[in-house]
């Protein structure tokens, strides 16, 4: 079953992860060396992993923030960690000292140590000091809570509606007329001229949670309960996340990718996504099969009869790097396998096996490959 995902991609991915685990800006030489290894990795692999991988950091490390909410949480966490570290060192030392110092020695005289029942002064001290620490921690925390939750939405903000489904993400850009799935595209936000993305979070079925650690903390998507969050990534790249609230069988493979594009790239992407599907003559047979089977009950392709809404919109399927909410790379083989037997890629997903014969399967896959 591993082959479904393609074992050839694993090697390349591991290297990417190793490279970007260290900040690439800090050590230029190392970067060059690693770039060479990366290229070698790519050569070894049969094909590039993800087509569009300028910043493919695969580690969703919350301590490498790249957006204001994640930054302010990061700074708060350093403060909290520092205070906790001080408390830890003090109490740990006291404990260790008392355990070692007051152990019964081998030459013990057998007499009981003097009983001490307590001391009000000491009790008062170790009540008041923690109260003061708590107060400081609380004030620092409250500041960050309000800073993130009550941020004003600028006029230039991009608005996105994210809808959680069992086990994929739907993204709508109401002002831009774009509809996509699983791979969220947002523009990079220049601090001098911010274009943050404000996300409204909804759910079509069970609870989910939108979590891309390098961009922001998580916020849940709950049916009948509208939630909001925002991000303003300051560098282009791909940011990895996934559903962080147990939502059913395939919670684990409800992966999430956020593409932070340069303003030009983003504009171009929006233009392409706004176009109706381009249907080529060569894929006519595949289109016929697609439109006369159960596919269209769940999937939509704009400009055709397919208008199902239970599954991801396929109008621009080939513009996405992954299928099945990030469970597999978007290649012909994977796509074909996904239509033929989704259980091998994502057991328990709601996509049914289509039971097409080999010829029809190839034709449908070829048709989908034309949806750019």
């Amino acid at each position: 079953m591993k082959t479904a995902i393609g074992p050839d991609i694993v090697e390349g991915q591991t290297m990417l992860q190793e490279i970007y685990h260290d900040s690439p800006r800090q050590d230029h030489k190392r970067k060059i060396r690693w770039t060479a290894i990366l290229l070698a990795g790519y050569l070894l692999a049969a094909r590039p992993v993800f087509g569009n991988s300028e910043d493919p950091s695969q580690v969703p490390n919350m301590f490498k923030p790249q957006s204001t909410p994640a930054h302010s949480i990061f700074h708060l966490s350093l403060f909290v960690l520092a205070i906790c570290a001080v408390i830890f060192v003090i109490v740990f030392s006291l404990l260790t000292y008392s355990v070692i110092k007051f152990r019964r020695r081998a030459n013990d005289d057998g007499r009981e140590p003097p009983p001490i029942y307590g001391s009000n002064q000491i009790e008062l001290a170790w009540t008041v000091i923690p109260v003061l620490i708590v107060l400081v921690l609380f004030l620092a925390t409250a500041r960050v809570i309000h800073g993130i939750q009550q941020a004003k939405k600028p006029a230039e903000a991009i608005e996105v509606i994210a809808i959680g489904h069992q086990f994929w993400w739907e993204f709508r850009y109401p002002a831009l007329g774009v509809l996509t799935a699983n791979e969220l595209h947002v523009p990079v936000s220049d601090p001098s001229h911010p274009t943050p993305t404000f996300i409204t979070l909804l759910s079509a079925d069970t609870d989910h949670s939108f979590w891309v650690p390098r961009l922001a903390g998580k916020t849940d998507l709950i049916p009948n309960h509208e939630n909001h969050m925002w991000i303003d990534p300051d560098e282009p790249g791909i940011f990895i996340g996934q559903c962080a609230q147990y939502c059913g069988t395939q919670h684990a493979k409800m992966l999430l990718r956020v593409y932070v594009d340069s303003p030009e790239q983003f504009k171009k992407w929006v233009q392409e996504q706004s176009k109706p599907a381009q249907v080529s003559e060569s894929a006519k047979e595949g289109r016929r099969i697609f439109e006369t089977t159960a596919c269209i009950n769940c999937h939509a392709v704009s400009g055709t009869v397919a208008d199902g809404r239970f599954g991801p919109d396929l109008t621009h399927l080939m513009s996405r790097d992954t299928i099945a909410s990030g469970a597999a790379t978007n290649t012909f083989e994977n796509l074909r396998l996904w239509i033929h037997d989704p259980e091998t890629i994502k057991p328990g997903s709601l996509m049914p096996a289509m039971n097409l014969n080999q010829k029809d399967l190839d034709a449908v896959t070829a048709y989908l490959e034309t949806l750019r």
Partner: protein
């Protein structure tokens, strides 16, 4: 007084037919036998819950593993959580409470012996009902066997649309039934401690063990009730078409969260306060000093009991509460760290200037102090709402609460086993095996749960049956799984030690630890009526007064 408090020697067990013995245990209303039944029952479920955890750790040892299917994995974490909380931790703590409270307060039994038996059997059958789901949960073909909704069973995953068959119903009914058992035991503990203390034992002279169990029982009464109410509502949803939590029909998913966590967070204190009770008995005896700051310890516990009911929504920082609600639950959660910290300081104060004896019970309690310190500090990190937006529902949280439950509660429980085993069985445990158990479990615990924090920081959410390679999570998951091997080995040594010592251990005598509370004044194991004559106490350490008539506690307290 010494000779009076010491009971008549127990009539030596003459061999009886097995049927008679079984009948005796099944129909017993004796608090000691019920206590042992609770403990044995919980030990069986501890092994089952441990097997479920092991299956999960094997599945997560490498990315894209195929040891179990996602469906099985989801059942495993649901059953592991439910089992460990409701059918291991609660019964085992109730078992120790049941056994020890009447002995410690100089009573002959619990206030309501029949209610006691009824409560135990309700809990027992609740667990069987839950596990019957493996057989009977398959209401519709292929619709699952054991429940797979997670131990907090968030709506609407439990609605009929998303949970077909009857697995969720077994979960609901199992918890409903055992919940009634818990309420019965809580009433019983409250009544016993309030009404049955021996002459001279004012509230201020009770052993801390009794005080802490009193607070725990009050919390059980208040916390289990909303859970019971929510389970009934959920059943109405599932069977009679009510729409409390059915979001497809306009119900509220968030309301379930509130109901669950107003139970769920106090529940943590319900479990940890008895653990504090064990530590508060064991640490003084093995430091040879009375507990430091007794009134403050009591006040801190009562304070935890109250504040514990105002922190529940820190489990819900990510569900979109407004900034004021988030701030409120941040400050209450941080505030509860103060009385908890005071407790740790007082235990240090107890050891300070003492002569610490490193027997197995004390080893477990010292490890508890270190581990609970870390658990408390990660708790402070999680209490800061924005930090929780990152850490919540990640493996960091999993590591944090296992630090509380395993590093805190289970370690003191092991300590309690070794400390009171001589009293319950009349025989000493094997000290060498006890040390082996401690070190194996200590190493295993730290391998598993120290390193479990890291993948959380690197963005690994909990409850995923597999993960992608290249996320930086592989090595940490591998180490976590390796730790399990040590924990399993430690558990085998523990069970082996109990069995060996029960049959072959040296006779313990009444008071092997030279301890100070009343249970050590009677025979080991205690006779059915506990005390030949009801003791009269003058201080918190009645046996100290007897052993040191020249320097009794009551002159100073």
């Amino acid at each position: 007084m010494a000779s009076e408090t010491i009971a008549l020697t127990a009539a030596h067990d003459v061999s009886q037919p097995i049927g008679t013995i079984l009948h005796d245990w099944v129909t017993t209303v004796d608090h000691k036998k019920l206590g042992i039944l609770y403990i044995l029952y919980a030990l069986v479920f501890l092994v089952i819950g441990g097997i479920e955890a092991t299956i999960m750790r094997i599945q997560l040892i490498v990315p894209h593993n195929h040891f179990v299917s996602p469906q099985v994995f989801n059942r495993m974490f649901t059953m592991h959580g439910t089992t460990m909380i409701f059918f291991v931790a609660m019964p085992i703590l109730f078992g120790f409470g049941n056994y020890l409270i009447p002995l410690m307060i100089g009573a002959r039994d619990m206030a309501f012996p029949r209610l006691n038996a009824w409560s135990f059997w309700l809990t027992a059958f609740g667990g069987l009902l839950l596990y019957f789901s493996f057989v009977g949960g398959n209401g519709l073909y292929g619709a699952g066997t054991a429940p797979d909704v997670g131990w907090f069973a968030y709506a609407p995953l439990t609605a009929t649309a998303f949970s077909m068959g009857h697995s969720t119903d077994f979960w609901t009914l199992g918890l409903l039934v055992s919940g009634f058992g818990s309420i019965g035991t809580a009433v019983n503990i409250l009544a016993t401690i309030v009404c049955l203390r021996c002459p001279g034992m004012t509230l201020g002279k009770m052993p801390l063990f009794a005080w802490l169990n009193l607070v725990m029982a009050a919390m059980v009464l208040l916390a289990i009730s909303p859970l019971t109410a929510a389970q009934i509502m959920l059943s109405l949803d599932r069977f009679l078409g009510a729409h409390f939590f059915d979001t497809q029909a306009g119900g509220s998913a968030v309301m379930w969260m509130h109901f669950f966590w107003i139970f769920g967070h106090p529940e943590v204190y319900v479990l940890v306060i008895p653990a504090f009770a064990f530590a508060s008995e064991i640490i003084p005896v093995f430091s040879r000093k009375p507990i430091f700051g007794y009134p403050v310890m009591v006040a801190a516990t009562v304070c935890i009991g109250f504040v514990g009911f105002s922190v529940w929504a820190h489990h819900m920082f990510t569900v979109g509460m407004n900034s004021y609600a988030n701030s409120f639950f941040t400050i209450t959660t941080m505030a509860i760290g103060v009385p908890t910290g005071i407790k740790i300081f007082n235990w240090i104060g107890t050891m300070w200037g003492g002569k610490i004896i490193f027997k197995t019970p004390m080893l477990f309690c010292i490890a508890f102090l270190f581990q609970f310190l870390i658990a408390g500090l990660t708790g402070i990190m999680l209490s800061a709402a924005p930090f929780d937006w990152q850490l919540g529902n990640s493996y960091f949280v999993v590591a944090h609460f296992h630090y509380v439950i395993v590093g805190g509660i289970l370690f003191t429980l092991f300590g309690a086993f070794y400390y009171w085993f001589p009293k319950m069985s009349g025989r000493m445990y094997n000290e060498t095996l006890g040390r082996w158990h401690f070190w194996l479990f200590f190493i295993g615990f730290h391998l598993t749960f120290d390193f479990m924090h890291v993948p959380g920081l690197l963005g690994m959410p909990r409850r995923i049956y597999t993960y992608e390679p290249g996320r930086g999570w592989e090595i940490w998951n591998l180490i976590c799984t390796v730790g399990v091997v040590f924990q399993i080995a430690g558990t085998f040594v523990f069970i082996g030690n109990l069995l060996w010592s029960y049959f072959k251990g040296k006779a313990a005598g009444n008071d092997p630890w030279d301890a100070w509370t009343l249970e050590w004044s009677t025979s080991s194991p205690p006779v059915e009526y506990n005390f030949a004559r009801i003791p009269v106490v003058k201080s918190r350490r009645p046996l100290w007064d007897i052993k040191h008539p020249e320097d009794p506690d009551w002159k100073y307290e």
